[in-house]
């Protein structure tokens, strides 16, 4: 094993961190069985909580982002609000924040697997993560709503999240195009969507989870809960030996040594390998000591 902490030579990775790191791919693979259930299409009336195209021939639940965009486009005509979707996202977000991104999302799992093929990764500045909120507000809510006001149904909107989404291209566009090609009807996917799919696959080889970091509106939404969700990561200063292993292990480029429950985190829990960060559940307790002041607070 390579020396991982020059300023903490005796520090060994925690058993919990190693166990979680080994367990995560298996949990992700297990969740694939939930989202790709061949007999589960009757669940299409329920939005899921992960990024997964509902047009995929094997998808069980409905894509929450697709449902949100459809509701936005329908709002000018029908004035309906997605109570079920808002409720489920609140429920999942308040319970675990973006834990589902790191442990349950099939599209995140695919990007994790692609990322394992190449050792070196391009690093990105953290502020680029705010583009996810631009996608959420612009492509998922405002644009469908504006075009809906003009009387264009979501299915006929030329520019929409579903027409640009690489998950849709991979999980629905690709199988249907292959089936169409086999039947002699040609390639179904548009050139733009095919290009988006190929660019995404190429980028995922050299950047860890590019979709999650830059564009995923669902990940951005769930990450908003990271600051107060019941499940969270807690820093234990007594265990910290300043080895910086937590930050070194973070595949998302989060500055874990400063704060960990932030919007850039997908809660893969790789940082728990250092021992100073522990996964825990908020519980109503009394008499807890107050948090020490943050790093940049005035003395």
């Amino acid at each position: 094993m390579e020396s991982f902490a020059a300023n903490a030579p005796g520090r060994a990775p925690t058993a919990l961190g190693l166990k979680l790191s080994r367990l995560r791919p298996w949990v992700q693979a297990g969740f694939l069985g939930v989202w790709l259930a061949p007999l589960g299409r009757w669940l299409h009336g329920i939005p899921g909580c992960v990024f997964h195209c509902y047009s995929c021939p094997l998808s069980s639940f409905a894509c929450p982002i697709g449902v949100m965009a459809n509701y936005a486009a329908l709002f000018p005509v029908a004035g309906e609000l997605p109570y079920l979707l808002i409720g489920l996202l609140l429920l999942v977000g308040a319970a675990a924040g973006s834990l589902v991104c790191g442990w349950a999302c099939p599209f995140g799992f695919l990007q994790d697997l692609l990322g394992k093929l190449t050792p070196r990764k391009i690093s990105l500045p953290g502020w680029l993560g705010y583009t996810r909120y631009a996608v959420l507000l612009g492509l998922v809510i405002l644009l469908p709503m504006i075009l809906g006001y003009k009387g264009i149904p979501f299915e006929d909107q030329v520019v929409s999240i579903c027409r640009l989404c690489p998950a849709g291209a991979l999980e629905a566009g690709l199988p249907y195009s292959i089936r169409s090609l086999q039947a002699g009807h040609g390639w179904l996917m548009s050139g733009l969507k095919t290009g988006i799919l190929l660019s995404f696959l190429a980028t995922a080889l050299f950047m860890h989870r590019p979709w999650c970091r830059l564009f995923c509106p669902l990940g951005g939404l769930l990450a908003l809960f990271n600051r107060f969700s019941l499940f969270h990561l807690q820093f234990n200063p007594k265990e910290c030996v300043e080895c910086n292993l937590c930050r070194s292990r973070c595949p998302m480029g989060v500055k874990v040594d400063q704060a960990v429950n932030v919007s850039g985190c997908v809660r893969c829990l790789e940082c728990t390998i250092c021992g100073a960060l522990e996964p825990c559940l908020a519980w109503p307790e009394k008499g807890l000591p107050p948090n020490p002041p943050p790093r940049n607070a005035a003395p």
Partner: protein, 121 residues
């Protein structure tokens, strides 16, 4: 393999432990549970093609199966078959008058719960 990347030194004594309070998370969780429960029992203001009110889960399913029907996108009824009509010109004239006097349907959008379009977009 575990590696350590070079980075600025950290100061654990000045860092927040990031302990989460229970009640904000619990309040959001409870609100989510109530909304999800209400959403599951919510009857929307839209009708189904059978004439009943559509449940919210029927509407969500219609999104993924191309099950929304817009009134302004309904195709007009086909013209009469002129070969079968006794007086083709009169039948065509009657059909044109019916089209001119046709009223728009009372609904703007309705839900076809039985739609099976594999990929609406």
């Amino acid at each position: 393999m575990l590696r350590r990347i070079p980075q600025p030194p950290v100061d654990p004594t000045r860092r927040s432990v990031e302990r989460h309070d229970f009640w904000p998370g619990f309040a959001a969780l409870a609100a989510g549970a109530i909304l999800a429960f209400c959403g599951a029992r919510h009857v929307t203001g839209l009708d189904t093609v059978e004439g009943n009110s559509a449940w919210e889960f029927q509407l969500v399913k219609a999104f993924s199966t191309g099950g929304l029907q817009y009134a302004d996108q309904l195709p007009p009824p086909p013209p009469p078959k002129l070969d079968a009509a006794a007086n083709p010109a009169e039948a065509l004239d009657r059909w044109a008058k019916e089209q001119a006097n046709a009223h728009p349907p009372p609904w703007k959008v309705r839900v076809n719960a039985g739609a099976e379009t594999p990929c609406p977009t």
